[in-house]
Symmetry: C2
Subunit: 242 residues, 2 copies
Amino acid sequence: MSLATDTTDQLTLYKRIRADIENRILTGEWPPGHRIPFEHELVARYGCSRMTVNKALSELAQADLIERRRRAGSFVRRPQHQSAVLKIADMRAEITALGRAYGYELIGRKLRAATAADRDRLGVKKAAKVVAITCRHSADNVPFAVEDRLIDLASVPDAATADFSREPPGSWLLHHVPWTEAEHTISAIVADDRTAEALDIAVGAPCLVIDRYTWRSARTITAVRLLYPGDSHRLVARFKGG
Amino acid sequence: MSLATDTTDQLTLYKRIRADIENRILTGEWPPGHRIPFEHELVARYGCSRMTVNKALSELAQADLIERRRRAGSFVRRPQHQSAVLKIADMRAEITALGRAYGYELIGRKLRAATAADRDRLGVKKAAKVVAITCRHSADNVPFAVEDRLIDLASVPDAATADFSREPPGSWLLHHVPWTEAEHTISAIVADDRTAEALDIAVGAPCLVIDRYTWRSARTITAVRLLYPGDSHRLVARFKGG
DNA sequence: TTGACTTATATGTCTAGACATATAATCGTG
DNA sequence: CACGATTATATGTCTAGACATATAAGTCAA
């Protein structure tokens, strides 16, 4: 089997080298732990300069496919933990992406000094002002999810005056506070009276719960709880890895 | 404000350049759409060769923080969709990572020709042989999740003879069929009699359901349904992005 | 056998060039 | 004005070197 003739693509050299090695790893020809040829060997094999193979190997290392160790060489990494990329677009995008009509309804909005429960939810210690928002998202006029959100005004003062009667707080935040980090907790509950009514489902029906806690460089921004009807299978995540 | 004096870290030059630009983007100083200085400008500013700033910019482009356009320049990208990295380790790792004792119990294992339902679950059309496995994972002797799995023997013939009485099929597969792709569907149900008994919870209690469908280069491998007690908040996902 | 020192070596970073290539901007023409 | 041809330019890739640095492996003494 030749090295690089299976795909006669118009690839640049370093991309071909990278693809060659990637294929060997993905097909299992070079299993985890296997030592990749040294850079100087690849240089000889492909007849190019070391910078070129270095670029290919560096990208493979960045993708966690190989591990590079000084003096020792480069090695195929063992499959990492399966990690799924869960796309949680903002609700409007999520629903319109499904080809359904997006509907939004503000149920409640309150500006208040943080209660003990608020502080706990946001993970802050000192007293602060917060906005509490409850709203509902619907798809084709059917309830899709209810949202219960807390925004820390110390981090996002503009949220005090923002008009959430038309624009969902998630979309608003996405445009005003980019590049955040977040932590998600996914769980299931059975609907209580209030939830059942909001989602138009039966009391005792299963609900999917996503708690998302968002911050930005150690500053809390918002905590949100999303409730979905449990039978809807909407959190689809694809992942690559092994 | 100086360019690179805030962090006097022992970083290599290209990493410092990358960090400088990244900071400017993350702080909002350079908002989406902003044009990054041209390579030759950065060369002048940092007093280095073009390959060095090119490496910094290439990595930022790989990380989707900037977009590079020939002749036009490099531009700060608008925040992508929030995407969460959902780590779904194999169950043993997941439980031991929590510092709890892992327990495994095979409940049933059947080798059979695929039924219509099996084919549907696996997403294959032609008849095939499958292994159906039901098992339970426990943490500190408390039921943690029940697993209901189907393995396509056409793709993984070894699974026919593998001993799943000691080793969970997930771990086994992870070691025998690396580098797969998968799709997850997350939903919620209420426990029926069988589920309630298996998880040692009340009938009607909420359960979190993860359906994972795994393939490898267009070949179906396995379909698994995991049932967790709904109150356990174990699917924690952190994400970065905006 | 163990620990400290030395050496060899593979990777990490960097340079000062080069040519390729896509494309924004300009210029000319109908 | 519209449209096609030309040009300028920023990025993309590549080279043939260089020195730095971490570390596996070998060496030697206690």
